[in-house]
């Protein structure tokens, strides 16, 4: 395992963990369900993808193992996580969850009801 790949893998792992922590902070700090969902679905997706990519590179360099299911997992997560966020947000909006009282724009207000 060369120094370059070590640094690359460690950096990817740390970036992924950091992004996941930022997502968790966003879920705690942000005011309403839509902004929380925004934080959770975006940065957690990228964080998990970074960690999976680091795992893929680790096994590729260390064992020479080309783990295609990790690549498939990255693609799968990239496709599904934003859609899950979209569905949760839409379910919240359709069941009448209030926005933050300082939000200024609601394009769906007179379209959906």
């Amino acid at each position: 395992m060369t120094a370059i790949s070590e640094v690359l893998i460690a950096a990817l792992l740390l970036i992924g963990a950091l992004l996941s922590v930022i997502a968790a902070f966003g879920v705690i700090r942000l005011p309403d369900v839509y902004t929380r969902n925004h934080a959770a679905s975006k940065s957690a997706t990228l964080g998990v993808m970074c960690i999976l990519l680091a795992t893929f590179f680790y096994f590729l360099v260390e064992d020479g193992l080309f783990s295609s299911r990790l690549l498939l997992g990255i693609a799968f997560f990239f496709i599904t996580a934003p859609v899950a966020g979209h569905l949760i947000s839409r379910a919240a909006y359709n069941s009448g969850v209030k926005m933050w009282d300082q939000s200024v724009r609601d394009d769906l207000k007179d379209k959906n009801r």
Binding site: R69, L72, A75, F76, I79, N94, N112
Partner: protein, 140 residues
């Protein structure tokens, strides 16, 4: 209120095939790696449940025009038949056999009768899961 499910339905169509292929991979890899009939069957029925969530029950039934209760019987037949097939060759019940074959596309492959038993498990798991879910989903 009529909801517009176009994002979910489009993604479900794509993801369905990814799950199905992964389930088939798990099923065939079961002899040498983690996986096998049970996980493969659960993942297959999970893919069908995803379609059930994205579309309605009638559409999915049109896509899979099988009565899932028949799959249970078919799977049990496969498993019991594989186990009983050893009796023909005058060896104890459940004795499995394997050999190496030169297949045209795969090269040297070991084919094992435990595979057929696993296929039975796979079919039974799909049948049981889908029967449970469809029965619960249909009751008013």
């Amino acid at each position: 209120m009529k909801t517009n499910d176009v994002i979910f339905q489009t993604v479900a169509k794509v993801v369905f095939f990814m799950i199905i292929f992964f389930a088939v991979h798990l099923f065939f890899a079961g002899h040498y790696y983690p996986g096998g009939g049970f996980v493969g069957g659960l993942l297959t029925s999970g893919a069908i449940v995803l379609l059930l969530l994205a579309f309605d029950m009638k559409t999915v039934r049109r896509g899979f025009p099988v009565d899932f209760k028949w799959l249970i019987g078919l799977g049990l037949l496969f498993s019991a038949g594989t186990a009983a097939g050893s009796l023909i060759f005058n060896v104890p019940f459940f004795t499995h056999a394997y050999d190496y074959f030169q297949l045209p596309l795969f090269g040297k492959t070991s084919l094992h009768t435990a595979m057929l038993f696993d296929l039975g498990v796979y079919l039974v798991v799909i049948g049981v899961t889908m029967t449970i879910i469809q029965t619960i989903g249909e009751s008013e």
